[in-house]
Symmetry: C2
Subunit: 493 residues, 2 copies
């Protein structure tokens, strides 16, 4: 079969690449590191956007749009920030092409050189804080709760579809507040929104926590993160929310008159998720037959495939139309694939590959029996269900599938969170993949040594407890120095 | 009053600039020619996007995403296309910054020069047709009906918020077809979608037609357009749909196997509308008090402002909440502005400026009378309406306002479509603004002369008739040579 995937057990990485291509989610473009998101992949991203956008608005945020370009001097204003992004900036230096005098085509017009180079935004803190400066005079102007849906560019050397691309799509929230406390609360609130989205829409359990100083966003005081575990035992950072303190307000001189009539710098947060979530979604649930999509994000929730199509009478076709109408009336997205150019077998494989949660198969014999064959993508189970009332059965089944996919991922993760107290054991365990909760002395040196020895990084210091003694003090597995609590290690994407 | 606008009669252009700024729609950014779209402006754009996206999907299109960057060599492949865009291209030449050895900040790293420069897309035909090449082998792969919501960059020298900016937001549809006829039909279908949107959502009448060769999109065989008339008598091109023939398929060698087993080049269309529509919306309806928004695109359709707020009893407040709930249940977006820091008078002016279609004012005395004061933004009329059933009254009123705004714009346009047969008269009439239907000999030379003499351009050769003899042959007003029908002239944005 043309669309066969490399099995996960053979080569997980190749399986992922195969799946992204064969399920028509995305492909590499002619521009190094930039992807084309194909219609089916984009339809999933649109569903993600739709839900996230709703959640942002329900928490009081509104959308706005800021320039694609950032003057080079802006990027330099926050020292850590420029340090973090300078090495991966796409730089616009000219604004015109002209015909090559030798007739060989167009060349950059050397006379159209920009006075100051423009950076294609890798993230928008600097241009936004330069804008907020004019929006904020007094505490009455606060809070500002803006989000932007945008493309950003980070010039990555090794790229992978969705997981790491030079250009990617994302949303970036940028908020401005009167007080430390309010900004902290906002940063954590948005982390919870991300966790809620990951768990209830992506069916992907996540560990919420705070990053170590080394892993912080460039320019942040604290970075909060949601970390998910992929089927190969590697972690994937799925969303981050940053408490930026007054760093950007100071860099762009954004002061406001407080309620007490004093001047103070504004407190800030920023938070984002990107098309990387597509990679997380794919790797959390899919199998060797293809995608497994949670119903809450599936562009097609139910596919109906006719069998012995030519023997379907007008009455039978009418009944099928009626079933489709009833499903749609319940808000279920249905595709009826009646194309006669493909066999039912081909279609079964195709929609399995595409991860459609429920497949209904209907042929003349089903009308005799008054039943329909219902196949669920998550378990690959099939059963015959009474035709009457099938719509309610399917509605309940979709809810059940959503729950089951989440539970399966959660059960898997439970088996993959290990407690380790000894560095030799850590080195052995980390080879097997999964999360490891271990003690660490809190220094960047020890963190760097662990990374160099094992390629594992501290994913976060979790907020919740996962084992019996996570939050109890102990001794660093490397140095033996005191540790306040266990931290979460893994190899990561 | 701080927010007063320059009256239109005094300086229309300044009135527009004032309005965009003071109604919080957009502002200039620190990056030359790039705007910041502020939350209120973006909320209107989001409503436009929402409706257009629905209309595109209902006509069988799906969304996808293509790279921001276009290799310079791609742009050159279609001769007219590169000719049209070369002079306004933002060019990425480097992919890294580094610390300046003199410690003065970051500089472009000369060692990180791209082998081939990348153009920030001014439009995406080239990168998309390079992609479609791999998607299309046979007629079975056709049609492809993709749309993309994206930002594009055209380095304009003179910019104006929304109307002409270096970066703007838009959608661009790119379709691929088996036959000339099918592609032509698609191009016209999408023009009709744009006209439908303009008239039924923006309440803006448009003239549909085809562009003269001079005004065609660079690379198109035919460009169809919708042209609207602004209050100052200038035309604004509001959307275009292009029949691209086989130009891009030939440039990128995209051939397919036909039903007859032959090889042929694929037929193409592209079509787009942009944030320029925001400028069209503002200039079609607004007045010296501020924006006038059609209810179908207003982010806030109804604002409720309390009077003598402190005297409102708990029962009265409960009743107001009840009215809000009833309005919302009818799908109406309502803002209840109970802020005590502003006077009712300030609020009246503010929501007039923001173009909220309906204002309800409620104070203790209204409860005695069982009425509410209802003010409509379009006519500035006020009346007292019975509190009971107010929600249905408002619902009907919104429909009425939508119709009235359209009718007003249509009536204005009717007075502004003139028939002229004499070039001297044309020169006089064009000074007064408005559309002129006149005869033209069909040559680029005459078209250029008219433009040079009068700054008027051929907006289109209209599809519909507006006068008694539009479609009858005549003689060119300039050269006296034969003309097949009248064409539409105006000075334009």
């Amino acid at each position: 079969m043309a669309k066969e995937l490399t099995p996960r057990s053979e080569d997980y990485s190749q399986w992922y690449n195969d799946l992204v291509i064969k399920a028509d989610l995305a492909e590499n473009s002619a521009v190094r590191g930039c992807m084309v998101i194909k219609p089916y992949g984009y339809a999933i991203w649109e569903k993600m956007q739709h839900e996230l956008d709703r959640m942002f608005k329900e928490t009081g945020h509104c959308n706005a749009y800021f320039p694609l370009f950032i003057p080079k001097s802006f990027l330099s204003k926050e020292a850590d920030h420029v340090e973090g992004f300078a090495k991966e900036c796409a730089v616009v230096t000219h604004y015109r092409l002209k015909n090559n005098p030798d007739g060989s085509g167009v060349v950059v017009d050397p006379e159209a050189r920009l006075e100051e180079e423009l950076i294609v935004r890798p993230t928008s803190e600097t241009i936004i804080w330069n804008t907020y400066k004019n929006w904020i005079q007094s505490y009455r102007d606060l809070p500002i709760l803006c989000n932007q849906w945008a493309n950003v560019v980070r010039w990555e050397m090794r790229t992978r579809l969705f997981l790491r691309t030079a250009e990617f799509l994302w949303q970036e929230g940028h908020t401005a507040h009167e007080t430390y406390e309010e900004a902290e609360e906002e940063a954590q609130k948005m982390l919870n929104v991300y966790a809620d989205f990951a768990e209830n829409f992506m069916a992907m359990p996540v560990v919420k926590g705070v990053k170590s100083a080394t892993e912080r966003f460039a320019g942040a005081v604290n970075t909060y993160t949601i970390e998910a575990l992929m089927q190969d035992g590697k972690a994937l950072q799925s969303g981050t929310s940053h408490f930026l303190g007054q760093n950007f307000a100071k860099a762009f001189d954004v002061q406001f008159q407080t309620r007490e009539g004093k001047l103070d710098y504004v407190w800030a947060t920023s938070w984002g998720v990107s098309t990387r979530l597509m990679g997380a979604l794919i790797m959390s649930h899919s199998d060797d037959n293809g995608l497994v999509l949670p119903p809450n994000l599936a562009p097609i929730q139910v596919v109906i495939i006719p069998i012995a199509q030519k023997k379907l009478t007008p009455e039978m076709n009418e009944k099928i139309d009626d079933i489709i109408a009833k499903l749609r009336a319940l808000g279920i997205s249905v595709k009826y694939d009646y194309a006669e150019t493909k066999t039912p077998g081909w279609k079964f494989a195709e929609y399995e590959l595409k991860g459609v949660p429920v497949r209904l198969t209907i042929g003349p014999r089903d009308f005799e029996n008054g039943t329909i064959e219902v196949a669920r993508r998550d378990t690959l189970e099939k059963e015959n269900v009474a035709m009457e009332g099938i719509e309610n059965y399917v509605k309940d089944l979709l809810i059940q599938i959503q729950k089951n996919i989440y539970q399966k991922a959660l059960d898997y993760r439970k088996t993959q969170i290990k407690k380790v107290d000894n560095y030799e054991e850590f080195k052995k365990e980390i080879e097997k993949g999964g999360f490891i909760l271990a003690h660490w002395d809190g220094t960047a040196e020890t963190e760097a040594k662990i990374k160099e020895d094992t390629k594992a990084t501290i994913r976060c210091i979790p907020f919740d407890t996962y084992l019996d003694d996570d939050k109890e003090p102990g001794k660093c597995m490397v140095t033996g120095k005191p540790s306040a609590c266990r931290v979460l290690f893994a190899r990561a994407y």
